[in-house]
């Protein structure tokens, strides 16, 4: 099957905003919706926190050193992702595969650190649980685990997604002429990074008003 026939037979019309592929437009629309879910969670969190008199100080309870490391790790994995895309644009399938696997590894380490952090919070001195925290303060734990957990679920999905793309890459599905699949996976991965940047600020860094 020649390249030209696949191009014209499969795609009935050119996508208006992303001429390269419909998939990219689809991913952007999905991400806009997903961003709204995160946005609502964070806005709800903000409203609950601002309305509380005795919200625990996040910098004291959560600790930000480990989370800063996690933030840095996600930024690094975003870089390996763009490096992978850059590799396949230049026709380097092996380089793409290696960078995609590195990106997935970064995501997996992030999840490991999050599991460590959660365990530490649940069993540590403050006993931050899903619905209880130091006795009765329930909203702190509930919002914390809902938001970081929802993000962690996205990272989990992203790691699986990246592994699938890497496997497809190993079977030679992508090339210098056809790298849309890698670019679309990259969009999702960078979005997960972008959301974490905001979660890190709003959940971990913003101080309590005195």
């Amino acid at each position: 099957m020649s390249h030209a026939t696949t191009m014209h037979a499969v795609e009935p019309a050119e996508s208006p905003l992303t001429p390269e592929s419909w998939g990219k437009l689809g991913m952007w629309i999905f991400l806009a919706g997903d961003a709204m879910t995160f946005g609502s969670l964070l806005a709800g969190y903000g409203a609950l926190r601002a309305g509380s008199l005795d919200w625990p100080d996040p910098t004291k309870v959560l600790g930000i050193n480990l989370t800063a490391l996690m933030t840095f790790l996600l930024i690094c994995s975003s870089v390996t992702m763009v490096k992978g895309l850059s590799a396949i644009r230049h026709g380097d399938q092996k380089g793409m595969r290696n960078f995609l696997l590195l990106t997935a590894l970064g995501g997996a380490i992030f999840l490991g650190l999050q599991a460590y952090e959660w365990t530490h919070l649940m069993t540590g001195e403050h006993k931050v649980l899903f619905t209880t925290f130091g006795g009765q303060k329930s909203l702190f734990g509930a919002t914390f685990y809902a938001i970081t957990g929802f993000h962690g679920a996205h990272v989990t999905g992203g790691v699986i997604y990246l592994l699938v793309v890497a496997m497809r890459g190993m079977r030679g599905k992508y090339s210098a002429e056809n790298y849309n699949g890698v670019e679309i996976a990259g969009l999702y991965w960078h979005f997960v990074d972008l959301v974490w940047i905001l979660v890190f600020t709003f959940i971990y860094l913003i101080p309590n008003p005195a």
Binding site: L42, G51, I75, V79, V82, I197
Partner: protein, 116 residues
């Protein structure tokens, strides 16, 4: 298909993000700052980082402008959502310690009952 995109200097974006993250942590530890200033600084830093990721890693800078509008929609809607939530915050603040709140309410109710 190839060559339609310019490739940004990814490493420069990476270094900026890493430095901004370090600055954020530094600001969060710098307790001498007034809380409002600290909060605003942190939000601005986070938005700058999000902007860098969106523009360069997600290539919004090289896409059609309408796609950028799609990407900005959630930000606009969330701003409206926050405005819609503001009236909820003007009332009396609530203590999340429910037992204490119940005890307090009973305590307040008790003197009234004694009066009869």
């Amino acid at each position: 298909m190839s060559g339609t995109h310019q490739e940004p200097n990814y490493m420069a974006v990476f270094y900026s993000l890493a430095v901004l993250t370090a600055v954020e942590v530094g600001v969060a530890y710098f307790k001498a700052l007034p809380l409002l200033v600290m909060g605003l600084l942190l939000v601005v830093l986070a938005l700058v980082k999000a902007f860098l990721v969106g523009m360069y890693f997600m290539h919004l800078k090289f896409e059609k402008r309408t796609l950028g509008i799609i990407a900005l929609t959630p930000l606009i809607l969330c701003t409206l959502l926050i405005i819609a939530l503001l009236p909820d915050l003007t009332g009396t603040k609530r203590k999340s310690d429910t037992t204490a709140a119940v005890a307090e309410a009973q305590h307040e109710a008790a003197p009234a009952a004694e009066g009869h």
